[in-house]
């Protein structure tokens, strides 16, 4: 009787089989729970409220209004204003549409109150900030090298910066005792840790305003950071994706401003990442940019952007919208005001429930301290608490451990991806939950 030999199945690469995509972590598990039981005001009022997604829905009406008033815009990008469609359809130049780059440069300047200038020829387009960050990592570091990133940081970095690039992340640990500010001591410690492991550090990546802290980096700290990277002769990536979501123009200081003030000395190591996914609430459009002060990096990034270009149709649409200064100035101002109002609403609500948060001044979320609810100050207890909040209170919030926060008990809570009504309901649930927890504590004593 013949023995069947099993044909070996065709094998895949290490990249394909890698777990670096991290989609099994709690950060993403919470999304699954939400998908299975999503809150809906009418149809599912007891469902899970999504507070783990940093999306900006507070200013859609402004966009819609603009597009309705300028319907010929959408038409030009789709319809036959003959040359317009044809040109767009054939345009796959990795320089990107000049009108679009000009509009982006001008928008970025407006966000910074005109305190920094951006040259459209230094803008490289990418399909989203995710792609921009990965691209910069490919350019600045070789496999096995490392980037330093202050904690807590956006969980997506573990996947975006490491997966295909083979580059490592060395965390720069920040602490609640000084509001999680980045200190030169912490930077040195991380750098030395890398050295001791024989790992070459090629750059430092900061997110300013910070995700998940919801706070801008102080000017004095930015200067110390710039001094550190210059001394170590490494790169600095400043992910400023939330720059338009700072609650006021004056609160946010960009690295580009610091460079402008010092006449761009030592600037060839600095690269800024931006995107329209947060400030304009257009993540589906896939619009990201790299702004580099380094000619080599611009040239290389531009060539590499072939793997991640923005649809010319979208570029055209946005070029028109973002060059309309009246629209953009109004949008930036109103968006900031609304986000500030939301922030104050959630902070008040949390305070009434007896919950403290980090002082925030930017972003679509707040950094909340629930460590008093932990039985023990451990990661395991933090995850237990997270599960409790997810399944009992039916709120999906992001545990600090997924952001590599060293201190257990901190959570990121998003507030801009829902209506005010939904936020109120979420706050009420939190209030009730805290009440119950207090009663349990009292009865245990």
């Amino acid at each position: 009787m013949a023995i069947e030999i099993e044909t070996p199945s065709v094998s895949l690469s290490k990249v394909a089989l890698s777990e670096t995509h991290g989609e099994d972590s709690p950060y993403f598990a919470g999304w699954k729970a939400y998908d299975e039981n999503p809150y809906d005001e009418l149809n599912n009022p007891s469902g899970v409220i999504q507070m783990g997604l940093a999306e900006n829905q507070v200013s859609f009406d402004l966009l819609e209004q603009y597009l309705e008033q300028h319907s010929e815009l959408a038409a030009n990008s789709g319809r036959s204003s003959t040359s317009s469609f044809r040109e767009n359809a054939l345009f796959q130049d990795y320089h990107g549409l000049q009108s679009f780059r000009k509009a982006m440069a001008s928008f970025m300047e407006q966000i910074r109150g005109g305190r920094a200038k951006f040259d459209p020829d230094r803008i490289v387009i990418t399909a989203g900030a995710t792609a921009a960050n990965e691209l910069l990592t490919f350019i600045l570091a070789d496999p096995g090298d490392a980037l330093l990133i202050p904690t807590p940081y956006y969980p997506g970095f573990d996947r975006d910066l490491r997966w295909r690039t083979g580059v490592n992340i060395i965390p720069v640990h920040c602490q609640s005792s000084n509001n999680f500010e980045i200190t030169p001591e912490a930077l040195e410690a991380a750098y030395n840790e890398a050295e001791s492991k024989n790992i070459k550090v090629k750059g430092l990546l900061i997110t300013n305003p910070s995700n998940p802290l919801g706070a801008t980096i102080k000017r004095s700290n930015l200067k110390k950071i710039l001094e550190f990277v210059t001394r170590k002769n490494i790169h600095l990536i400043s992910d400023e994706i939330y720059s338009g979501s700072s609650f006021s123009c004056d609160e946010f200081v960009s690295i580009s401003q610091i460079l402008a003030e010092q006449n761009y000395k030592d600037s060839e190591r600095v690269h800024v990442v931006y995107s329209l996914s947060k400030d304009l609430g257009l993540p589906g459009f896939r619009v990201g940019t790299i702004y580099s002060y380094n000619d080599d990096v611009v040239r290389t990034a531009r060539r590499m952007s072939s793997f991640t270009l923005i649809s010319s149709q979208t570029q055209q649409l946005l070029a028109s919208m973002l060059s309309d200064k009246r629209f953009t100035e109004n949008y930036i101002r109103v968006n900031r005001e609304r986000l500030k109002k939301r922030y104050e609403m959630i902070i008040d609500g949390l305070r009434n429930a007896g919950i403290a948060c980090l002082n925030g001044n930017a972003g679509l979320f707040c950094w909340v301290n629930l460590s008093s609810l932990l039985l023990e100050p451990t990661m395991e207890c933090e995850l237990e608490l997270w599960k409790l909040i997810l399944y009992e209170v039916r709120l999906n919030i992001s545990p600090g451990s997924s952001c590599h926060c060293l201190e257990p008990g901190w959570f990121r809570v998003c507030f801009a991806n829902m209506s005010e009504n939904t936020l109120e309901i979420a706050l009420r649930r939190i209030h009730d939950f805290m009440d119950r927890m207090r009663k349990v504590k009292i009865s245990l004593q």
């Binding site: 044909t7 690469s13 597009l67 054939l90 130049d93 040259d119 295909r164 761009y264 649809s311």
Partner: protein, 526 residues
């Protein structure tokens, strides 16, 4: 652009720099005992060192610069606006280093393929404003049927197609985070479109469609998923110059050309594949798959059913993958029938895991600017990994919405495909006849947006240098940009790819006259 480093003495390329080969022959004496023990051990070590050095050098040779249809712009310093006047000019290299991956990409373009595209960008032909400019025949772009799409838009477009306004979901519907690998509506419309394009002999399943921002990242994703750094794919040559970038740049994966010859009409031979595979194995290089383009670029031929079955057998026996780039499937115009790899797999029922298809909207549908590409795989694990990787290269949602509307109009699509094919066919006939009038012959092709032209009798010497001299004359004297075969890794000198779908009928005589000037000057003396 470097030539293949395959050290096959039979395939002796025109520039033999076979360090290894040059050492082996004189070594015979040593091996036969005349050199003694010391030489007998030193020389093999030296050989080994040279071989490693040789392989390393070719492995890290400058990868090809980006997309053929994108201009590479000014390679010198970026223009500085007045606001940047204070930026200290340390030159284009800062003191801080970039990665070695980046360094090789940053080098100036040396491939004639990209140089030509640059030159056209600087001095493009225009009937009215620049009649002496360079005519672009080096870009496989199809301008013949854009009017059909424009007409459709005029008659059908409304804002809801971008998701904006009254009856649509509003901008909130399309602007927010969507599945990175594409909206289901577009996947369904795309599956239907592919079914239609490929002749309705097989039905494409939307669940196997992964959408990417162009075929360029689609190829790169497959390269990342199917091979590890240092592994290789076999690629029938001549091949599309962009493969060198898409498959190799960031992945560290190698491409091994499998040379096809004019005596076979550049048909793929399984024997040649086998030889290449075995030689790779001897070198210790692990082959993970075969990359074919069907219809082929630059030759414009179709792979027949038998060859496709043979390829699948070949891949199965060695347990490797097949990537079939079918991006020109809708641009067929001859009598031969296009057969997709999907059809082959469909009839077999087993062992589909190794087959992956690339498609896109840049050629058949003429919208390269909108960045829409497809990975179509029969392997669940590849689909799962690819979907996650699309986060780096997703299609913009307004574009997805628009495309879904267009592709869902099935009668428009059928009419479009039929008319487009007819127009490519007539342009091909006109162009080829015009070239024949100059005494220049092409292979008989039946697909693609280009023809594969034999100018070998016009080059002198009969070598890559002769070919590049002719290319240079065509570019600078005749002022037409065409793609030399060496840029496509063609082993026989003198072949050129001429794209004709960027031309209008009345431009053909202009092209012919320009070429005539150069052809006359190149003809061998009687």
């Amino acid at each position: 652009m470097t030539r293949s480093p395959v050290p096959d003495p039979k395939d002796e390329p025109r520039n033999p720099t076979r360090t290894g080969m040059r050492l082996i022959v004189p070594l015979q004496g040593v091996v036969q005992g005349r050199g003694g023990l010391i030489l007998g051990s030193i020389i093999p070590c030296a050989l080994f060192y040279f071989l490693q050095f040789y392989l390393k050098r070719h492995r890290s040779s400058p990868p090809n610069p980006p997309s053929p249809s994108t201009s590479t712009g000014n390679l010198s310093e970026l223009p500085r606006s007045s606001s940047r006047a204070n930026l200290s000019s340390r030159g284009s290299i800062g003191r801080v280093h970039v990665s070695s991956r980046a360094s090789s990409i940053a080098k100036p373009n040396d491939s004639p393929y990209y140089i030509g595209l640059d030159r056209v960008r600087e001095d493009p032909y225009d009937e009215m404003s620049n009649p002496d400019g360079i005519i672009e025949l080096g870009l496989s772009e199809n301008r013949l049927s854009l009017d059909l799409i424009e007409k459709w838009l005029e008659e059908n477009f409304n804002n809801s197609m971008l998701g904006i306004g009254g009856d649509g979901l509003g901008i909130g519907g399309i602007a927010t985070y969507q599945p990175m690998d594409g909206l289901m509506e577009l996947k369904m419309a795309m599956a239907d479109f592919m079914t239609e394009v490929m002749g309705r002999t097989v039905v494409f399943d939307p669940a196997r469609v992964v959408l990417t921002s162009g075929a360029t990242p689609a190829l790169e994703i497959l390269s990342f998923c199917l091979a590890d750094q240092g592994n290789a794919f076999l690629v029938p040559a001549p091949y599309y110059p962009g493969f060198d970038r898409d498959m190799r740049w960031r992945t560290g994966v190698e491409l091994i050309p499998v040379h096809c010859r004019s005596c076979d009409n550049f048909a793929l031979s399984i024997t040649a594949l086998e030889q290449a595979f075995n030689q790779a194995r001897k070198r210790g290089q692990r082959v993970r798959g075969i990359l074919i383009s069907n219809p082929s670029n630059p030759v414009g031929s179709l792979l027949n059913r038998d060859t496709l079955f043979d390829l699948l057998d070949f891949a199965r026996e060695r347990n490797i993958h097949i990537i079939s780039d079918e991006i020109f499937a809708g641009s067929t115009y001859g009598n031969e029938e296009f057969v997709s790899m999907a059809e082959i797999v469909d009839s077999e029922d087993t062992d589909k895991d190794r087959v992956h298809i690339i498609y896109g909207m840049s050629k058949d549908f003429s919208i390269p600017g909108f960045r829409v590409g497809v990975i179509y795989s029969f392997n669940e694990n590849v689909l799962a990994a690819s979907r996650k990787l699309t986060r780096f290269c997703s299609v913009s949602t307004p574009t997805q919405q628009l495309l879904t509307s267009m592709l869902s109009d099935t009668s428009f699509i059928q009419e479009y495909l039929k008319t487009n094919r007819r127009r490519i066919a007539s342009m091909y006939d006109l162009f080829v006849a015009a070239l024949r009038g100059l005494g220049v012959v092409c292979t008989k092709s039946c697909a693609g947006l280009y023809c594969w032209v034999d100018m070998s009798r016009l080059i002198s010497p009969y070598s890559e240098k002769g070919e590049l001299d002719l290319w240079d004359k065509l570019l600078n004297i005749a002022k037409i940009n065409v793609t030399p075969g060496s840029a496509c890794h063609c082993i026989e000198p003198g072949w050129f790819r001429f794209c004709f779908t960027t031309l209008s009928e009345n431009e053909i005589p202009i092209v012919v006259e320009r070429i005539r000037k150069v052809v006359e000057s190149c003809k061998p003396p009687v």
